[in-house]
């Protein structure tokens, strides 16, 4: 039994002179939720397409569920995927579109109504796809990906076009699937979503993997910040010098003191301020978010 859902070694794709994906190396353990992030054009979709056998790598190798990626017929019956948005036949209903794919894959067509109910499309099953909103199309794409009751689910921007309630529903759905043992490999621009649901992360920049590992490990690399605001604005610089005097770098941003220190040091800062006669109106340790880490690592202001 393989322990890895995805494993790639030196996976590369070259278009002309441009390396869309360059020597990518990463692993996704079975039963985890892995976020796949990177700026637009960083090679996420190209990588997913290579993993699904839609495009041929120019170099490197990989395995999906223990099978080599140059034999997609050996593993795709256990993989659900939605790549680059939903794509269906406009003149067919949502249910009929799923029947086409279920028939093709040899899956049970009796499960289609239940799947549509699960993604919140049950009452529009027989409406033509062309009448669906963007969010409904996205839900149908996710339902199609769930057809094989997949061991591995690969979703490319699954929350595009969904309203906040829809995003939350999909988040809950993915969490449930992960609890049931499905490995989820998901790319999204909504980094806060990825941060909330993913155990591990693969980060791409200009076709290269710049991080692959546990999300927590990535966040730990970033220095936490304590944000403190003085009741009397004239004490701001005095508070900054107290922090710097204790050996922590800091700066003043928008009238608040930002000191690079762990959350535990907030109590010490509070005492130092009290002893110096400074009254604080705000004192909050802030853990680095994935978004901040992402911008810092990718050097991208998207």
């Amino acid at each position: 039994m393989p322990t890895l859902a995805i494993s790639v070694k030196d996976l590369s794709k070259k278009y002309g002179e441009r390396m869309a994906v360059s020597h990518a190396n990463f692993e996704v353990p079975l039963g985890t939720v892995c976020g796949f992030v990177g700026p637009n054009g960083s090679g996420k979709t190209t990588t997913m397409r290579m993993l699904l056998g839609l495009i041929s790598p120019t170099g490197g190798s990989g395995t999906i569920l223990g099978e080599p990626i140059n034999h997609p017929e050996r593993y795709l019956s256990r993989v659900g995927a939605m790549i680059e948005g939903p794509a269906f036949y406009p003149a067919l209903s949502g249910a009929e579109n799923l029947r086409v794919l279920a028939t093709l894959g040899g899956f049970d067509t009796d499960q289609i109504q239940a799947l549509l109910d699960r993604v919140g499309l049950g009452d529009r099953a027989n409406s033509k796809y062309k009448t669906y909103s963007l969010g409904m199309k996205q839900r149908l794409g996710i339902a199609a990906a769930l057809l094989p009751n997949p061991q591995l689910l690969m979703l490319d921007e699954p929350t595009n076009g969904l309203d906040p309630a829809g995003i939350q529903e999909i988040r809950e759905l993915l969490k449930t699937l992960a609890t049931e043992g499905t490995t989820v490999f998901i790319s999204s621009h909504l980094l806060s979503e990825i941060e909330m649901i993913s155990d591990s992360l693969v980060m791409l920049r200009k076709g290269k993997v710049i991080f692959a590992g546990k999300t927590q490990d990535l966040l730990m690399r970033q220095q936490p910040v304590i944000i403190a605001k003085c009741a009397d604005p004239q004490d701001t610089l005095k508070l900054l010098s107290l922090g710097q005097g204790a050996g922590h770098d800091g700066s003043v941003i928008d009238g608040a003191v930002h000191i690079l220190a762990s959350a535990e040091w907030a109590a010490t800062l509070n005492k130092l301020a009290f002893d110096a006669g400074i009254t604080l109106s705000q004192l909050s340790p802030v853990l680095p978010s994935l978004e901040e880490t992402f911008f810092e690592m990718t050097g991208d202001d998207e």
């Binding site: 190209t46 397409r49 699904l52 056998g53 839609l54 495009i55 041929s56 997609p72 017929e73 795709l76 993989v79 995927a81 790549i83 680059e84 948005g85 794509a87 269906f88 036949y89 406009p90 003149a91 067919l92 009929e96 029947r99 086409v100 794919l101 028939t103 093709l104 894959g105 040899g106 199609a144």
Partner: protein, 263 residues
């Protein structure tokens, strides 16, 4: 491959496409057959390119099927449009990636689709034959044609041969459509190029270059539908056409198997 066939059939059987196509086919056949009988005594001819098919010819055993075989070119164009659209739309809708995730064996996918479209084409030919033969009997009285020979075993044999030839011709048109659909990956481009070539360019070449009809795919498909004609023999048309289609099919199959699916 059987799963691909039934998946494709789900798309082909949708009412707008199925009944729309069958309606077109029956309309085209009815028009061609009606003109054949109603313009029987017209000095401007009653068949393709102003040719005259006489009452005596129509009274022969194979006279029953002349309207049907004369419809083959238009039936073929319908098949070309359906095959090209059903193939190329997978690229324009982006649905090819879904199909290939569910059936990664690309040639199996291609063969299954082709088989389903062939069955669809077979149904169009059956509808066309029924309409043409029914109309032939219905209009024979008005055209003062003696139909005794149409009920003989020779007539049944001629009907079987014509049916087979029209079906081969229609499948050939459809194959051209599928080849164009795979090459251009756009239904509009594939259909417009196919129709322009068959209806305009070939006719210009045939009118300007002597004996070129023997080598033009559209002319060859018409020759097969009519069981051989003045342009070339049936066997010549069959062999040359099969050669063209085999080369075209092999080329697009290689493309389809190797080309990255990036849309």
């Amino acid at each position: 491959m059987i799963r691909v066939f039934f998946a494709e059939w789900r798309k082909l059987r949708r009412p707008t496409l199925f009944f729309g196509t069958m309606g077109s086919v029956m309309g085209v056949t009815a028009l061609v057959t009606s003109l054949l009988f109603l313009l029987l005594d017209s000095a401007r001819g009653n068949a393709r390119e102003g040719r005259m098919i006489t009452r005596a010819t129509l009274e022969m055993p194979h006279g029953l099927t002349i309207g049907f075989s004369s419809s083959a070119g238009l039936l073929g164009l319908v098949a070309l449009c359906v095959f090209a659209a059903q193939t190329a739309q997978e690229y324009t809708y982006g649905t090819l990636r879904n199909l290939l995730v569910r059936q990664p064996k690309r040639l199996t996918l291609l063969c299954g689709k082709f088989l389903a479209m062939k069955v669809f084409a077979l149904i169009t030919v059956i509808f066309s034959a029924i309409v043409s033969i029914t109309l032939a009997f219905a209009l024979s009285g008005k055209a003062k044609i003696v139909t005794t020979a149409w009920s003989t075993s020779d007539a049944r044999s001629a009907l079987a041969h014509t049916f087979l030839n029209v079906f081969i011709s229609v499948i050939a048109y459809g194959t051209v459509g599928m080849i164009l659909g795979l090459l251009f990956r756009s239904p509009i481009t594939a259909i417009s190029l196919g129709v322009a070539w068959l209806l305009i360019i070939e006719n210009i070449i045939a009118a300007t270059v002597k004996n070129s009809g023997k080598w033009m795919p559209g002319q060859l498909m018409t020759t097969i539908a009519s069981g051989g004609d003045i342009n070339s023999s049936y066997s010549h048309a069959f062999i040359v056409l099969i050669g063209y289609l085999a080369v075209g099919t092999i080329i697009v199959a290689i493309f389809f198997r190797r080309r990255d699916v990036s849309n």
